[in-house]
Amino acid sequence: MTPGEAVLTVSALSVVRSGREVLHDISLSLRAGDVQVLIGPNGSGKSSLVMALCGLLPPAAGTVTVGGAAIARLSPRARARLVAYVPQRSELGSGLSVAQVVAMGRFAHDGAWGRDAAHQAAISEALLQVDALELARRPFTELSGGETQRVLIARALATRASILILDEPSSALDVAHRLGILRLLRRLAEAGKAVLVALHDLNEATQLADQVVLLRSGRILAQGSPQQVITAEHVRSAYGVTLLPGGGYGYALDGA
């Protein structure tokens, strides 16, 4: 996979949930090394699009193509080796260590009887990438919000999928942890991953994105560079609020 190569393509995608069309005529392309950010008000279809891109919601029309194949035609294991999903929060209960949670990312690679040869190396490498190697033995449910999110990203990295799709990974975190996650995502894109992330915060989207997709009522209102998309007109149209000139929170991680 070379930087700039389109690794995921969405063509005229429509998705219906509970009899209601939640996504309509969505087309976009995700490239290796890029971070693409999905923004939009609550109920605009961000989470539905994230799930459809991961093959977790079937398209009513259109296609999601990964590595030249329609994602809907791939087996769950083949799909998991290509596209990794990071949920907003995990439903995992007590009793599992961080290492066991990250090991779940190897499920699509393991055989019926044994682990694949790269099992342990992939887990350690994934934990290392998110600076969480020291958490390996800790109980997963006892982690802080920021640590939990890093471990879920590590689980996605353990799949060794080239595409990483995240659903509002920073929404429950404080400022420092949010910026830490954004920095991590940028680093992963620089390492060659194609990253698509749904975010609420427009400042974070501006900081992080190479490309932004603005959704409203299940349709794309605008897509392009952050400067092209996050404009006063688009923000007013999508959110019904006025974008103040010279906005921004004005904080950064130490050393950033």
Partner: protein
């Protein structure tokens, strides 16, 4: 490993006690009597292992430590099937010409379980979500139990038939025959092996349907096959031992507290633990009854199980492990 050794040792001790317990002492035991006790022991081991592992599967599938095979309606379906067979064999003796007596009970049990399973799989195929399956399972369970109660009320008109049905409903492995053990043993063995194979998938499924699917789990296949193997295990247990409760609830939860949630280990240890628990309970059923006769096995497991489970659940809850 220590827990595995512990439950294996407990099973050996319970098995030895089971062979040695009865109105005839060990020294006076003839070949025929020993064979009967061996059949009873094997029935207890199979039913206990099957019930405990069926509990592990249900708790894994529904991600709820309080789930048990009864929530699928499969146990109640198997029980209804056996009750119908018992009624049929008394009221329509000609039936036994078509189906041999030793095969009628297992066949009817598996038939009743298959009926419940068919309904569950149809819903799982159409809807694909676990909540719908649970709701249908509970409705089926209530429906089959109500039909069973109606059969029992009808059977009260004939003393002998009523006694047979009540004995079956209360649970017990004293009526197990060599043929019923021979029918159940391969089914339980295959179902235990298959359950172990699904262990890693159930581990990943702990993260919920969407996350598990994103990690490569075919959630529909997992639900379908977990229900199938639960049905095989539960119906084998019901066929062998009738209405025995609590084993699928107590054993997996105790084992999980020590071994953690990894399903492959849990399945092996629960199979051993379930076998040991039910064999020990069967010994108690024989020993604790004042005078001749036995305490119903289902009553023993519930009498021991209910307070134990309340104590255990409170302890684990307080420790934050449940």
């Amino acid at each position: 490993m220590r827990l595995m050794l512990g439950v294996s040792l407990a099973l050996v001790v319970a098995a030895a006690a089971s062979l040695a317990t009865g109105p005839v002492g060990w020294a006076d035991l003839d070949h025929q009597l020993l064979l009967l006790r061996l059949i009873r022991l094997l029935a207890g081991i199979l039913a206990g292992a099957a019930l405990a592992v069926a509990g592990v599967l249900m708790q894994g599938l529904f991600r709820n430590p309080l789930a048990s095979p009864s929530v699928t309606g499969v146990s109640a379906g198997a029980a209804l099937g056996v009750e119908l067979a018992l009624m049929g064999s008394v009221l329509l003796p000609g039936l036994l010409v078509i189906v041999p007596a030793a095969c009628l009970r297992p066949a009817a049990g598996f038939g009743g379980a298959a009926l419940a399973l068919g309904c569950l799989l149809a819903v799982a195929r159409r809807r694909g979500d676990i909540t719908s399956v649970v709701l249908l399972g509970m409705v089926l369970s209530m429906l089959f139990s109500a039909l069973g109660a109606y059969l029992l009320s009808l059977a009260n008109d004939r003393w002998e038939l009523g006694r047979i049905l009540v004995t079956f409903t209360l649970g017990g492995i004293d009526t197990a025959t060599g043929r019923s053990v021979a029918v159940a043993a391969p089914l339980v063995a295959v179902a235990l092996g298959a359950s172990w194979c699904w262990g890693r998938t159930l581990d990943v499924a702990l993260s919920g349907e969407h996350e598990a699917a994103s990690l490569g789990v075919d959630t529909r296949a997992m639900m379908r096959w977990t229900l199938v193997w639960t049905a095989v295990l539960a119906s084998a247990a019901v066929t062998l031992g009738g209405g025995i409760g609590f084993v699928g609830l107590i054993v997996p939860n105790v084992v999980r507290a020590y071994l953690g949630p990894g399903h492959r280990q849990l399945i092996i240890a629960s199979a051993l633990g379930g076998a040991a628990f039910l064999t020990a309970a069967d010994v108690c059923a024989r020993v604790l009854h004042p005078g001749p006769g036995e305490i119903p096995l289902g009553a023993i497991t519930s009498l021991v199980g209910a307070p134990f489970f309340i104590w255990f659940f409170s302890r684990e809850r307080a420790a934050g492990r449940l």
